[in-house]
């Protein structure tokens, strides 16, 4: 039997189209979820910016009571935003312009809060622990950075009064460069506790806990 056999092209193309639509649907839905989160992070950044301005004004008006409303809760909001941005970075890619611009704003907000806390504790004679963490998403440093991030998250859940600020070591903005110079940071995954103690090679929560007042 040497007759030409049909390829059933229409049916095959239809099956291919259905499969492609299903795949595209998967990508589309995940993009919608990620993008809506990205938008909500952008909105939150605006809200936090206003809150910080409010706190700054409150702090300037401090005379005797030292009762600055919302100073500590804002730190938690910043931590949560940092964590969400980590996922956005994974989804959009670390070189994505949207992620980079959000990280720049986030770093500025963190720094603003850090300076506010510093000024507040000096003015009101309070002892507030602060931790600056310089992480990197570069392949050689990402795993160790993730582990330190995990340790710091745990520390924060145990001691809400510890203020943790994470900065991307590789983010090319003047503020981070200045911070790196101030604290003599020459490599990623360094933790600065209370602006005095510089730690690298952190493997356990105890490595940090002993310096926390």
């Amino acid at each position: 039997m040497e007759e030409k056999r049909p390829l059933y092209g229409k049916r095959i193309i239809l099956a291919f189209i259905i499969a492609t639509i299903l795949f595209a649907l998967g990508f589309l839905l995940s993009y919608i979820v990620t993008y809506s989160k990205y938008q909500s992070v952008s909105i939150s950044q605006g809200t936090i910016g206003y809150s910080l301005l409010d706190l700054e004004l409150q702090e300037r008006l401090i005379t005797s009571s030292c009762n600055v409303l919302g100073l500590f809760s804002l730190s938690t909001e910043l931590d949560e935003m940092g964590s969400t941005m980590g996922i956005l970075e994974k989804r959009f890619g670390k070189t994505d312009i949207r992620v980079l611009s959000q990280k720049e704003i986030y770093s500025m907000l963190e720094l603003q809060h850090f300076l506010l806390i510093k000024s507040y504790s000096e003015k009101c004679n309070k002892s507030i622990n602060s931790i600056l963490f310089f992480y990197s998403n570069e392949e050689n440093f990402a795993d160790a950075g993730e582990k330190i991030g995990y340790i710091l998250d745990s520390l924060k859940s145990q001691k809400k009064q510890v203020m943790i600020y994470s900065f991307d070591y590789n983010l090319k903005i003047n503020l981070i460069e200045l911070l790196k110079r101030n604290y003599n940071i020459t490599e990623p995954n360094i933790v600065i506790i209370n602006e005095k103690i510089k730690l690298n090679n952190i493997n356990n929560i105890k490595d940090i806990q002993k310096y926390i007042k």
């Binding site: 995990y150 145990q158 105890k206």
Partner: protein
């Protein structure tokens, strides 16, 4: 079987394995109508697992129900390349013209299916004819069965390798190449996902160790933890591929159950299938490939 074919006086040959059960008596009557098309040389029935019990039989139940849809899909583009040993119906004239079952083939039914396709005839699937088979319920017998099937399939495909061509229609140009690619990708993907998962678990344990984890003290669940967990999952396309896969699987099951008029509960079987089948499938294929590669003797039992 060849002895029987030679002795047979009728025009139709029906094959059966020792572990097959035919529940409905009029099945053959329904099937032979397909021979109205003179080009049809074989009618493949719809096969299902008889009274599945235990995890392995339940996994196979879903696998066979999936096969109901696939066989129908292949039939619609004349690409059936495997006929079941259970109640496949042949024209005797084909054996007379093109020879009996290959006694050297491990999977003589597969060899016969490819031979029918090679000579340009058709194999059709009859959805109304349901043949049941008693599936292995222990790991080793099941592995031996699959090892024989898969090594047999590899040998048959090697023998008919020239059929991977447009000349042999949709089967040669699309179905066979896609089938092989699917097997290879499934095995690689299963190993990849397993290695990644183990490495993630190891990383998580390492992290938990680094904070001297204690459930009572450290486990804090709040709204944000939940939000982050769900965002992490649902911002990845893989989550949606998995959901789509479940829906497609359920669609296939619905179709198959309707066809074979099966009313038994299969939710538990689907659960076992989703979590176990890819591991079993990869394992069977790796074992079979090694047997094939080192030319080891493959026994029937």
């Amino acid at each position: 079987m060849n002895f029987g074919i030679k002795k047979a006086k009728g025009e139709i040959i029906v094959t059966m394995d020792a572990d097959n059960i035919i529940v409905k008596g009029d099945i053959l009557k329904k099937m032979v109508y397909n021979f109205n098309d003179s080009n049809v040389m074989c009618i493949a029935p719809t096969t299902a697992i008889y009274n599945p019990k235990g995890i392995l039989q339940r996994v196979q139940q879903v696998e066979y129900l999936l096969g109901v849809f696939l066989r129908k899909a292949f039939s619609s583009i004349n690409a059936i390349h495997i006929t079941s040993g259970a109640f496949s119906v042949y024209r005797k004239s084909f054996f007379e013209k093109h020879g009996d079952f290959d006694e050297h083939a491990l999977t003589e039914d597969m060899e016969m299916a490819l031979r029918i396709q090679y000579y340009g005839y058709r194999i059709v699937n009859d959805l109304t004819a349901v043949a049941y088979t008693i599936a292995p319920n222990k790991f080793i017998p099941l592995m031996k069965q699959r090892r024989r099937w898969y090594v047999g399939l590899m040998k048959c495909l090697l023998k008919y390798r020239f059929m991977f061509s447009k000349k042999y229609g949709a089967m040669g140009a699309i179905v066979l190449p896609v089938a092989i690619t699917t097997v290879i990708l499934s095995v690689i993907l299963t190993f990849y996902v397993t290695i990644i998962s183990l490495s993630e678990i190891n990383k998580e344990l390492n992290h938990l160790q680094s904070i001297n984890f204690n459930f009572a003290n450290n486990f804090e669940l709040n709204k944000f933890v939940f939000e982050r967990f769900f965002f992490n999952i649902f911002s990845s396309p893989i989550a949606y591929f998995f959901i789509i896969f479940i829906f497609v699987l359920l669609g296939y099951m619905f179709f198959a159950k309707k066809v074979i008029k099966e009313h038994s509960e299969i939710r538990l079987s689907i659960f076992f299938f989703i979590f176990l089948y890819s591991f079993l499938f990869a394992f069977w294929w790796v074992v079979s490939f090694l047997y094939y590669l080192f030319n080891r003797k493959v026994s029937w039992r």
